[in-house]
Symmetry: C2
Amino acid sequence: MSLPLGSGAEFDRIREIVRVLGSAGVGLGDDCAIIPHGQEFLALSTDTSVEGVHFRLDWMRLEEVGWRATAAALSDLAAEGAEPLGILCAVIVPTSAAENDLSRLMDGVGQAGKQMSATVVGGDLSAGPSWSVTVTVVGKTHAPVTRRGARPGDRLWVTGTLGGSRAALEAWRRGDKPSVESRARFVHPEPRIAAGKWLARHKARAMIDLSDGLAGDSGHLAAASAVSLSIDLSLLPIHPSVEREASLLGVSSQQFAAEGGEDYELLVVMPPEFESSEAFVQECGIPLTAIGSVETGASVTFHLDSRPIALKGFDHFG
Amino acid sequence: MSLPLGSGAEFDRIREIVRVLGSAGVGLGDDCAIIPHGQEFLALSTDTSVEGVHFRLDWMRLEEVGWRATAAALSDLAAEGAEPLGILCAVIVPTSAAENDLSRLMDGVGQAGKQMSATVVGGDLSAGPSWSVTVTVVGKTHAPVTRRGARPGDRLWVTGTLGGSRAALEAWRRGDKPSVESRARFVHPEPRIAAGKWLARHKARAMIDLSDGLAGDSGHLAAASAVSLSIDLSLLPIHPSVEREASLLGVSSQQFAAEGGEDYELLVVMPPEFESSEAFVQECGIPLTAIGSVETGASVTFHLDSRPIALKGFDHFG
């Protein structure tokens, strides 16, 4: 079984796992696992956040850690156009934790679920060396939107704005305080459940959530669909906090936004005749922006001011 | 919402989480989360194994870590009488891991799944301070067997034999080598999927898997069903490796077995008229033993040679 993922050390590891599992592993390599059940499909995804790797407690409160981990998992349901059914949450609690730390974290998990009408139905608790939260979500859909349906001639769209989460991260890395807006994008991402369902209803051909960033995730979508993507970076909807952070790093806002991960927006391929982004904005309350096109081939090319530009993916693993 | 669990620090923490979640958490406190979907019910469970807390790598190989974590999660499906549909596996890999360590662990996950006809459908990888494996399983059932259906007059049964897993643990703790048989019980537990489905078909009233041990889990079942349980320890089916380890600790084999956790056998309440344990043995290949009765009240009492005996639960958390 081959696994159409883009490049990166994490994805090499996943490909190796798939080889080892052989027939014991099937359907790996989409945002969610899809299991047919009755008249519908179940969509499942599991997502781990580790202290010191995915978050630091001097950057965010435990409620925010819980929200963010849950939102990240729900975002995978959004990318299938699925509706959440329930949340399971396995927490490793460090022995140094204070009495109510776990309750604070679980409060964030519960709040994120509540906002998306998903209840916490189960979990597990363990002691361990540092905080870790593994959130598993289950949802349902009549027709999952995978990464595999893009066809030459389709157009590429993206929800919301990009780069806000990375803007916060770069400020923290510099020892500075992020802007309120960029911090909110990092600690309190909103899973695009309603947007994902709307796009699925409007014949989305392929969809992926932007956890690895546009530069990385566009590669996964292109590989899964066996197409090329041509993306015009000048069209990117960019978060207002990006400009300052990008100039401090000496890169363009467009490159900064495209290389930044964890915005949890949706990258979606719509058929050529799709134009109704205004109806989307009215119903979902966020922008939907055309940023490129689908072509024959097997690559992703980025352009800025008509010049090709090479981008770096965002590697969570390390 | 109140949560009928037995006593113990871990369960106090879970009760506090349930209080914090309020309406964002529902149905917590059974082996699995149960979600109605179509004509059936989905059963979901998530289970974390942490290096140094749940296992040590000088005791077992990484393939065995993967098998054991997966078997523990599948055991929760068994306790609902559910049939597995899929497995998700989130792994934290220490930065010190060798190149193929992750593949070895995933091989164990895949093998455990394969034996129970459950494929690995998804997962997540993170770096972190030490190994941790969170396995989430989803299954289906027409009528889940919860912990809540026991009624006075019913009888209490247990599958397989007890104490084998603890016998291995005590040998390791002593710095000794466990017997081959007890080691197999610890590193290679067999989730009782077929047994759980058989018992559900034969009108099981309530069921729980023995991860916390008979002393602890009988308390959860009694609390959930709002009944008393009376258990005759002289009837316990005891693993052959227990005798030596129990005598080294200076306790009876019965007490040793009842206080030992992680055997992953099923404790099941059957209606008074149930007698056909021979048909069970023929179909499932393991013993089914009557060990006590259900009475009115709200406690669990253990007897050995007609004398009441106080037992200690098995606390994973710490």
